[in-house]
Symmetry: C2
Subunit: 357 residues, 2 copies
DNA sequence: TTTCAACACGAAAACGTTTTCGCTAAATAT
DNA sequence: ATATTTAGCGAAAACGTTTTCGTGTTGAAA
């Protein structure tokens, strides 16, 4: 079990000083060609690699970014991580992930665990409980400490930081418009409760699209689903609720759902009730995941481009980190000329499949 | 922008030495009650937290574990990560993830990036390209360096380390047995190419189950799918291939597929060909993910318990890390009494849904 | 011969901890 | 009164780097 070799060991072995080894390996021309050759050969032979932790301590930066998300077993979040990891790696960063599991407390614990030197910055999406509580002090605290944050998808205006969001509002407008163009007269909305901002925005888009078409949104046709997280028979409940909703409103000929689970479940229920898709009812979901692609019939959806969001978020964060770096090594005056914060909006795109005409 | 406070700053502010501060904060009784009180109060006021990087350097361990997987946008892998994260956090560890994207080169790069002090141990699942090349030197090299590895799911005997696998063989046997019990006479197998070990084991299970029932496996009824990764019209190709397969073998009345995508696609194709599920054809998949649950009809599957695998893997790794710790601080003799390596087998479970009778 | 620059290298500080060891002064024992 | 313990604290090393600032040796210029 050969422990990794260090500069000190190389120095001792070759009978030179640690500084000489360090300089030789970085190709400093302060060291003679002879010695440099000898040291580099030795280092290669023993496969020397500088210790990351020591570097982090010295440079006071870790070259790793912390990802904090509510849940990883979720297609959308995985794609975002993939995007972040892609850019991070390309730009020489590692990613360390924490899961809040939608809990306020775990979100805080995770942040504190990572904020003590382990990471240079955060990319995160806010947990539901935090959104509900509207308590964002931990975000502001870490920003205060000089650790930048980039929020994605579930963001909030009370925190000053870079943000990446999808255009929920216009995505919803587009979706409902398509249903209208396809001849739907009574379009239902299946959505979440209001405190999840994306749900709210998509709901507003739904209403807006109807108004643009000189139609009034009918509250009867809006189904808000309260998600009871840890329930076993969640799926059945969902089906029953939707079934009840359909029976109450037999006139429904179009459905816009704010996520793909609601959408495919709606399709399933509709078919059980003897309705044909897309002839009797057309359905559009939000978030293009595996379900949409492989459902029968396959589901028309509003694509969120999760990977692109991740890439943008990573670039935003790393850009800011490097800017901070440059700033602190420069004149350092200017009273904190922090360029103002950026909000990137990712455009949505409708992916037409079999659930619409 | 208040940078995090350090021991040195506290010491200077309170006019004591760094050592005194450190001891006071750790509650050492070497320090008088007065001073301790004063220091602790000051530390709390300024929200002092020890710098993780400095601790890592000093203790020569990082309390973080590296996860290296082929792909994150994959329900099974996400559940494993969730399991790892759960245990890791509970036991005071962080997780840092790297994605190999099924590439040999990226797997190596990621390992080297993390093996230089960033992590204490690895939990990984081998990339397809690595399995194909059968080149495992990077695994052995990092183990040689004293960094333990736990492999899960896609494992290999050539590397000596702890392993967590699902009982692919018996899972397949169970699945095929169920089909037989349900009256199937001509059971097809839809599988991957052989070098992915799990595919091979599941194939063997299929054959074994038939032999147990005194039936010969008919090569005609085995469809091996070569996955061409980056192709755009992957899904269509898959459908066409399966359709061709079904037309060639109209006698098929049962299908066992080694993953859920193959299974739901098989259902879709079968229905397009006018066959009814489960009356004409019964289908069982492997890996219980979102697709299985929400397909119509919902899919009977062999559950892999990804989260449990993750938990086991994390416990295995941390146990070993702590054992190494104890060993190195103990008498340290014994010529490396490394307890032999453990292979945990996770039992599968059949989840019956609508695609079987 | 003296002076000076170039060359090649080493010592030490710094990043933030923890821990071992020593030291001083007071308290106790002899 | 002297010797010995003990309480309370500080100095310094160590973890592995990088970098700044010497310092001694050489060769050439004066």
């Amino acid at each position: 079990m050969k422990r990794k070799i260090t500069l000190k060991q190389i120095a001792r072995e070759l009978d030179v000083s640690v500084s000489t080894v360090s300089k030789a390996l970085s190709g400093s021309k302060e060291i003679s060609e002879d010695t440099t050759q000898k040291i580099q050969a030795f280092a290669k032979l023993y496969n020397y690699r500088p210790n990351n932790i020591a570097l982090s301590l010295k440079n006071r930066k870790t070259k790793t970014i912390g990802i904090l998300i509510p849940e990883i077993v979720h297609h959308f979040f995985s794609t975002v991580i993939r995007g972040i990891e892609l850019i991070a790696n390309r730009r020489g960063y590692n990613v360390i992930v924490g899961l809040s599991n939608e809990s306020f407390a775990k979100e805080i614990i995770n942040m504190e665990m990572l904020a003590n030197g382990s990471i240079d910055g955060f990319i995160l999406s806010i947990s539901k409980e935090t959104l509900l509580k509207q308590d964002y002090h931990h975000f502001n605290a870490t920003i205060q400490q000089g650790i930048p944050i980039v929020m994605f998808d579930r963001v909030v205006n009370d925190v000053l930081c870079d943000k990446v969001v999808v255009d929920d509002f216009n995505g919803a407008v587009k979706a409902v418009k398509l249903l209208l163009e396809n001849g739907c007269k009574n379009i239902a909305l299946i959505t979440t409760v209001d405190y999840v901002s994306v749900g709210r925005l998509r709901t507003q888009g739904y209403i807006e699209a109807l108004q643009l078409n000189k139609m009034e949104a009918n509250p009867q046709l809006i189904l808000k689903i309260e998600d009871n997280l840890n329930v076993e028979h969640q799926l059945e409940d969902l089906e029953n609720e939707i079934a009840h909703f359909f029976k109450l409103n037999p006139s429904i000929d179009g459905v816009f759902a704010v996520n793909e689970l609601y959408a495919v479940t709606a399709m399933k229920v509709a078919r059980k009730l003897g309705r044909h898709i897309p002839d009797d009812i057309q359905v559009i979901g939000f978030t293009d995941g595996v379900l949409s692609k492989h459902a029968t019939p396959s589901l028309t959806t509003v694509s969120q481009h999760g990977q692109k969001m991740g890439e943008q978020a990573a670039n935003l964060l790393i850009d800011r980190l490097e800017a901070m770096d440059a700033e602190s090594s420069q004149y350092m005056g200017d009273g904190g000329g922090k360029s103002d914060f950026i909000k990137v909006v990712i455009e949505t795109e409708i992916i037409k499949r079999e659930s619409t005409k």
